[in-house]
Structures are given as structure tokens and as C-alpha cells.
Amino acid sequence: MNSDLQTIEKHISQEYKYGFVTDIAQETIPAGLDEQVVRLISAKKNEPEWMTRWRLKAYRNWIKMTEPTWAKVKYSPIDYQAISYYSAPIKDSKKLKSLDEVDPEILRTYEKLGIPLEEQKWLAGVAVDAVFDSVSVATTFKEQLNKHGVIFCPFSEAVQKHPELIKKYLGSVVPYTDNFFAALNSAVFSDGSFVYIPKGVRCPMELSTYFRINAANTGQFERTLIIADEGSYVSYLEGCTAPMRDENQLHAAVVELIAHKDATIKYSTVQNWYPGDPKTGKGGIFNFVTKRGICKGDNSKISWTQVETGSAITWKYPSVILKGDHSIGEFYSVALTNNYQQADTGTKMIHIGKNTKSTIISKGISAGYGQNTYRGSVKIMKGAENARNYSQCDSLLIGDKCGAHTFPYIDVRNPTARMEHEASTSTIGEDQLFYSNQRGISTEDAISMIVNGFCKEVFKELPMEFAVEAQKLMEVSLEGSVG
């Protein structure tokens, strides 16, 4: 028995492949946070006065807030004064007109990460915005998107070029008063992606952003805002990696989605931030993220799909406010915690409109000493006639030192609601591995087969090419060598 567990453990000990540091000249402001720093960030971005004021309000709000402690994660206190809140590759201080102006070192970084920025190398139909530490370095396929009236640009550019949209929607789903990390982000966010899909437009390609933390002792605070106007459709994917460092690094992002009448937003995340040292648990990214979407109009739909394999700590609950009648919210999640990783993740579905429907499929995989918590809440408000929710939370345990926890909260205020909840916990049994071995299948292959089988329902929600990527990522996160 024991030796089998050892085999399993050997196979799941992973090596992080994206842990290198890019050596480029970067401008990093001194650590610490006060109003001056907030003003400085705003000034660096050349922001209009209204934006600076909004940041300051967020900051003043943040200093009155305390860090939440209800999540089932353990970490030593974060010293917010020890973090630098802005870091950028130096060449980037001026606006980039084309990819030729991007530091070749950065381009090489993205290539190493498997994200070629040069358009010709692109997987057909994927437009990419790449955020390197605090700034957005390149957005591909801009022209083609322009033709359809789609706006896909760095957040900072949107502040300059589309102030009316930013003013209208920024903080409309996640106000800076929402929570500690959202307030912090609102004060110091440096960049991120902005998407606007006009009425009736089906975005002609997948949009995607890759986030990369490079500099040491910096936090990454990006903001994403996606607006899908009436009858439009967009599928958006974000991916994330970071170098290996002994210190923990903070990543506190905010994502806001707005789906108008008959619009659909599909948002997928493949998160692979550095998880920390597999042996000691030292280092790794603290991933505290607030993601929320609102189905504003009737028949709108927001679907979150996340594959969370990285980070030392993951704290995120992509949620949907189902305001429009007949609107649909979905949450498909795979969260993997290996070695000393901890994840507390789930969703919130708030049913306000009539005949609203939500689906939650959560798959937690724990290995090593990993701790995995599903925390989900379904709220059916008084006026939400005939609301329906289906929730399914499955946990898979690999080895005997890890843990899985499930906290479903349900609040029903309308008697016509129909709720279904299913949960299961399973293990990869020594007998399953032996059975597979007896058929000539290696333990490695058997584990990845079982894990992929477990995640199938979620992977099928990802755009095709990323489903393959996610599957591979699971393999490297679990086995090190397969894939």
C-alpha cells in the first residue's frame, strides 16, 4: 500500500516550467503604498482627473478595510508596505505602435511560454493582449477586430480612448467597496484588458490575455472589463504564469463582465502562476481575485470556466448576478492543489430575474499536502420566480495527506425555486492503478487518464485548442514527465 502511495507521490511531484526570469530593464517604483503612490501610478498612466479621483476614493476606502479571514487558507500576514505597486519594462514608457517596438526579450519570454505574439504564428482566430508585470505590451489582431467594431485593447488605452465606456462601467459590477482586495486593486491597478462588443456582433475570434509577473517584490493588479452589448457574443481566455521566487507575490485582480440583453460572454481562465517550492511550500503567488459578471438584460448568459493549477494560494469566486429574466449563469471549475498549494474557490449565483438558471460544476483535485475548498453560494431573491440551480461538487484525492472541503451556502427566498445539489468524494485507488498496470498502462498514464476523466465535464467547456492545453497542464502539474 505504502509503496504505491510513494509511487503516486513520485509521479505527482511536478516541476514548474515557467519559472525563469526575464532580464530586461524595468522601472519599478519603491515599495510602499500611500496616496502619493496612487497619484504616481495614475500620473504614469497619464490618466484624466476623474480616474485619479476614483483611485483615491478606492484607496481611502481600502485603508479602512481589513483583510478577510473566512477562507480556509493559511498564510503569514502580507506586508502591504513591502510591495512595489508599479513595475514596467522601460522601453514601454512610450506607446507601442507595432510588435516591432516590443523589447525582443519580452517577445522571447512569451515565446518560451508558448505564446507567440507574432501574428503569423498565431493559432487561427485568437487575438491576444499580453500583460507583462504592470503594463500591456502587445495586442495582436487589432485591425481585424476593428473592422467588426470590436474594441480589444489594454485597459490604460481604453481610459484614454473610450472614457465614456470606462466611466459608465468601471466598478459597476465590482465596486471598490466590495472587498479588501477589490478595493486595493481599484486604487493601484496598472493595466489589464478592455473589451467592448457592439450590438449584434459575434466576435470573430477568441480573445485572450496572457498575464506574466516578472519583477520581484511587485504585485500584479490588473483589471479586466468586458462589455457585451445587446445580442453580441464573445469568448475570452486568460492565461497566467510567473517566475519561481522564494518570496510570495501578490496578485489581486478584478474582472467585471456586463452582458446586455441576448448577449453571451464566455470567460475561460487557465491559471498557472508559480505554485511555490514543491518540497517546502516556499514562495508562490497569492492569487486573490474578484471576478463577477452581471447578466443585465433578458436572455443574457455568462459562463465562467476556470482551470486553476498554479498559485500558492487561490482565493476566487467568479460570480454571476442574474438580473435579466431568462438569464443564465454557469460556473465550470477544475482546481488542482498539489504539494503545499491551497485553494478556496467557488462561485456565487444571485438570482434576481424570473426564470433564471444557473449551473455549477466544480471539480477539486488534491494531491501531496494540497488543500482544496469549494465555497459556493446560491441566492434566490424574492422576485426570482421559477429560478433553477444545479450544483455538482466533486473532489478527487490523490494520496492520504491532502484534503478536500465543501461549503455550499443556499439562500432561497422564493418558493418556486428548484435546487439540485450533488457532491462526491473519490480517491485514485491503489486497485485502480494496479488494474491499469495489469493491462500494461503505466501509473503515470493511469493517473492522468483518471484525472482527465474526472475533469472532462469542465474541459469540454474550454475552447478547443485550450482544452488540449489544459489537459497537458494537468499532466505536468501532476506527473512532471507525461505530456
Partner: protein, 252 residues
Amino acid sequence: MLEIKNLHVSVEGKPILKGINLTVNAGELHAIMGPNGSGKTTLAQVIAGRDMYEVTDGEIIFDGKNLLKMTPEARALEGVFMSFQYPVVIPGVNITYFLKTAVNAMRKHKGLEELDAIDFLTFIKEKMRLVRMDESYLSRSVNDGFSGGEKKRNEILQMLVLEPRMSVLDETDSGLDIDAVRIVANGLNNFRSKERGFLVITHYQRILGYIDPDYVHVLKNGRIIKSGGKNLALELEEKGYSWLVEEQPIEA
């Protein structure tokens, strides 16, 4: 082909097999019978390489190689197959994918080209017809929700697909209905050849009537206490095991 010499096996410190000697030559089919708890499954699992069983003495040689030194998958790749008394359920893992992975691992081991999805489907569908398994099973997870008999049929299917040289079948006939026993026995008979050896563990004469074993052994209390021809099975069916006295181990 398979030589078991003076095999002693313990589980959690408790001796289960107490000196098994048994040789299965290519082309032979040996049946093993014996009361519950006598050590039949233990023997099968030790041949396959389950590591919860501790071999305290003796050896198992397969084609001149020391089987006990090999990992379970290495044994499988060399051509040792075991049909499980209790086949294991693997939820979420599609049976076609599972078998294709297994077949291609074998082919790779033999230096053959891997089968692509289409060739594999053609191949497996033909084998399914032999054991009269419906094609709809191909979309299901490994043994998930299978009835007892369906699981056993699936074991035989895997044997036919993997084409092992040495097959150890642990009570594959238990749980099969009367027709299924005949179907499985037919499948087995067609699969027999002078290159292949079989060790068939069973409690029932019925299947032996179809497959005509070359030898029948009685395992009791961790020892082979009697060996004989197929008539021994008939005798056992009639009289049970109690008339047999435990004597010195008999060489097969």
C-alpha cells in the same frame, strides 16, 4: 513457460501460500479449484505483481525471466494477463480509450506501430462480437455500472484484445449466466493456441466441461493437495473437498 517453484506468500505477516509448485507449459490449460480462502486469488495476484502480497520464499519464472523482479506493467507487457475476480471500476475513464492505451502500450513494447483510433475501433469491435458484447459499451467508463456478468465479459474481452501469452483467469465464470459461460468458454477456446498457457481458477465444473483442461489442481490451505486430469473436477463437483486429505505438496 510459467514455472512456480516453492512459492511462499504472506499477507500482513500471515502465511497464505505455503509452497506452491506448478508449471504451465505453452499450449496447456490448467484449472485450479479449491475452497474459499484457500489462496487461489492470492496466487493469481502474485503472478500479476500485486505488491500487498509478500513473497517470503520461492520463485516464479516466465520464459526464463524472474517475474518477481518485474513491475506489474512490465509483466503485462511481457504477456502476462490476469482476469480479476473483482474487476475494478474506473469512473470517468472511457473503456475504448483505456483499452486503446493498453493495446498501444503493448504494441510499442513489441516494436509495432501504434493503432490509430479508426483501426483500433475496427479491431475492438471484431473482438466484441466474439464475446457478444454490444458496441454501446464502447462509450462507457471502465466497469462503471456494469453488472457482475458484464464485468466478467469485459475481462475476457480485454484478454482477447491484449493477446497475452499467459492468461490467469480468476473466477471469470462466477456471475455469468448459463449462456454467457458458454460464450466466454467459446471465446477462450478460440483463443487457445500452442503458444499460449492458461491458469483457470474456478469453483464450477460447468466451464471446465466446455474448455477441457489438461490438468486440474486442488488448492487448499495454501498448498496444492491434489492434481489430476479433467475427471478430478467431476469428482470434486460430486464429493466436495472434504474427502481430500492435506498431504505432501504434489508436483504438477
